[in-house]
């Protein structure tokens, strides 16, 4: 009934998975715009593992549920489902719901990426500060010289300055006062 609704909505490129074997490879190869899953599908833990493992598997997910009210739908969206499709949904509503799923997923992914970038920038700055402090203490450099040394090492080895700083901090932790 759902597949029929999708086709009537003009979405012809629909693949139904009845068999779990090789689902990861097939999903990666199909690269779908949106994945629809039944909330109560008994194999969801395996699917979640696949989603957690592969960035390539990050796709908008819409969920079919067996019971609902408005609060439940809102809670689902807050919990990261891109859309929430209730059984008995009218066929003509399917397409807008899926489009909403895709839009929400993109907004969420962008937020995630920004957050990840902010986090790694913060960690990088911390490592650079630590490496500078080590160079200043152990090599008697002043701060500009310590930073210049880090930058030169990074350029010479074709690495990011944060990676060089990280290596210095790690090496110092392992080698101690040797």
């Amino acid at each position: 009934m759902i597949e029929e609704g999708l086709r009537e909505a003009g979405l012809a490129d629909v693949t139904t998975f009845a068999d779990r074997a090789g689902i990861a490879a097939r999903l990666e190869c199909l690269s779908p715009d949106v994945i629809l899953i039944n909330l109560a599908n008994p194999h969801r833990d395996e699917l979640e593992e696949l989603f957690a493992l592969s960035r390539a598997m990050a796709r908008p997910v819409a969920m079919f549920v067996d019971q609902s009210d408005t609060a439940g739908m809102e809670a689902a969206i807050d919990a990261g489902v891109s859309a929430y499709v209730v059984d008995g949904l009218k066929k003509e509503r399917i397409r807008p719901v899926l489009e909403l799923a895709i839009r929400r997923f993109r907004a969420y992914s962008r937020l995630r990426t920004e957050l990840d970038e902010a986090r790694s920038a913060l960690a990088e700055r911390k490592a650079i500060d630590q490496a500078k402090a080590l160079l200043m203490k152990k090599r008697g450099m002043d701060e500009p010289a310590a930073y210049a040394a880090l930058r030169k090492a990074a350029m010479d080895s074709g690495r990011r300055i944060g990676d060089v700083a990280d290596a210095i901090v790690t090496a110092d932790r392992l080698m101690g006062d040797l």
Binding site: D45, A52, A75
Partner: protein
């Protein structure tokens, strides 16, 4: 007065016993709760129903409550654990021909020696390009972390030397039978089902890996729990009384029969009875062996949510690469466990209440009296198989120590 309707989501496992018994033995009703149990087949569904408001609380693998609160792979949603539904109770079951190579089939053995033999087999299999594959019930499950802890401690790299995949409990025996996996770490009755079908033999129970390690918890949305303290307290008291019934030998048959019903585990009462009474059949046609410390649903304050248990799980999640250590997250993970709520709910019953909220995990080798705010409490050994201990205050040095050289 009409009873307050309340729904708890669960998976068909023996350690869902306390919510089931709270309903069926009338303890929920005594507290004015009209309790309904919502059965599902995967942890993802149980967790989603809790977040979507299809259920009010859930029987849940402890690390999933932490992962949900920290927002691993999805937006963070704060969950709280005011009550632990059980310690241990899982086992590692492998294909019989593999079991024959690593243990004396049909009886418990020394898990360090078994792990050492497994390491050799795993290496041979990896060299042949067919690494051993283990199934665990969820990425964020105590099963996964205890299996990884054991493999690591036996010189097997859980990421490089073997494969670990997810298999939901009801499909564990099938996965062994059709060769999808060589071994599984799952809760009861699913090990016993595999043994009964002759497709697996138990080689270790998880209490041999971490004695009194935290297993399933009662998870609630934090906001909801805090908004309805009275309701939460009544529920906890009903579950506590269900725990007293669970360990009453006189009620064993009654309990096994209730759990076996189609609405709950939908399985064999005889197999369920074995787990409830800690009498485990390790292999097909072997005699049942009493493993007194197989699972803890009540005694020694087993239901108390020690924040150090959450801390240990967080450490394992770091080691597994499931998250990066962030100090604020580490604190948040420990605060998922709410000993304050447990104490507030059970104080009126006059039961023993630990004074501390955290302990050195793996630090108790012999039974030990501990400080309480009321009652007397003796805690049994909580040792790890490798005799390490875990101090929640020293997480970074613990993780550094655990790294292979």
């Amino acid at each position: 007065m009409t009873n307050t309707p309340y729904r708890i989501g669960f998976l068909p496992l023996v350690d869902a016993a306390l919510p089931v018994l709270a309903r069926e033995l009338g303890f929920a009703e005594d507290e004015g709760i009209d309790l309904t149990l919502v059965r599902d087949l995967s942890w993802a569904t149980v967790g989603d129903r809790l977040l979507y408001g299809h259920s009010d609380a859930a029987h849940m693998v402890a690390p999933l409550a932490i992962a949900t609160t920290l927002g691993l792979g999805r937006p963070a949603a704060s969950l709280s654990v005011p009550f632990v539904l059980g310690l241990n109770g899982n086992a590692i079951t492998v294909r019989p021909e593999l079991a024959a190579r690593i243990t004396t089939i049909g009886a418990p053995g020394d898990v360090t020696a078994i792990g050492g033999r497994l390491a050799k087999v795993a290496q041979e299999a990896a060299v042949c390009g067919k690494p051993l594959r283990f199934g665990v019930v969820h990425r964020y499950s105590s099963h996964n972390y205890m299996l990884r802890y054991w493999l690591n401690g036996c010189g097997i790299d859980p990421d490089a030397d073997v494969e670990i995949v997810t298999v939901a409990p009801p499909f564990a025996a099938d996965a062994l039978a059709d060769g999808t996996v060589d071994g599984i770490c799952v809760g009861e009755p699913w090990n016993s089902v595999a043994v009964d079908r002759g497709v697996g033999a138990i080689v270790a129970v998880t209490s041999q890996i971490w004695l009194r390690g935290v297993e399933k918890v009662l998870a609630m949305r934090t906001e909801r729990m805090e908004a309805e303290p009275d309701m939460t307290h009544r529920l906890i008291r009903a579950l506590y009384r269900a725990g007293i019934a669970f360990v009453d030998p006189g009620r064993l048959d009654e309990i096994a029969t209730i759990l076996a019903r189609p609405a709950y585990l939908d399985g064999s009462a005889a197999l369920i009875r074995h787990a409830v009474s800690d009498r485990i059949i390790f292999a097909q046609n072997a005699p049942a062996i009493h493993v007194p410390e197989f699972m803890f649903q009540h005694r020694e304050a087993a239901n108390f949510p020690w924040q150090s248990q959450a801390a240990w799980l967080y450490a394992q999640m770091c080691s597994a690469g499931h998250l990066d250590y962030v100090e604020a997250d580490y604190r948040a993970a420990q605060q998922v466990f709410r000993p304050d709520i447990y104490r507030a709910a059970l104080r009126p019953l006059g039961v023993p209440l630990p004074g501390a909220s955290s302990k050195l995990e793996g630090g108790i080798n012999d039974a030990l009296g501990v400080g309480t705010t009321q009652g007397r409490l003796i805690l049994g050994a909580d040792s790890f198989f490798d005799a390490r201990s875990f101090d929640p205050e020293a997480l970074e040095s613990y993780i550094a120590q655990g790294r292979p050289d």
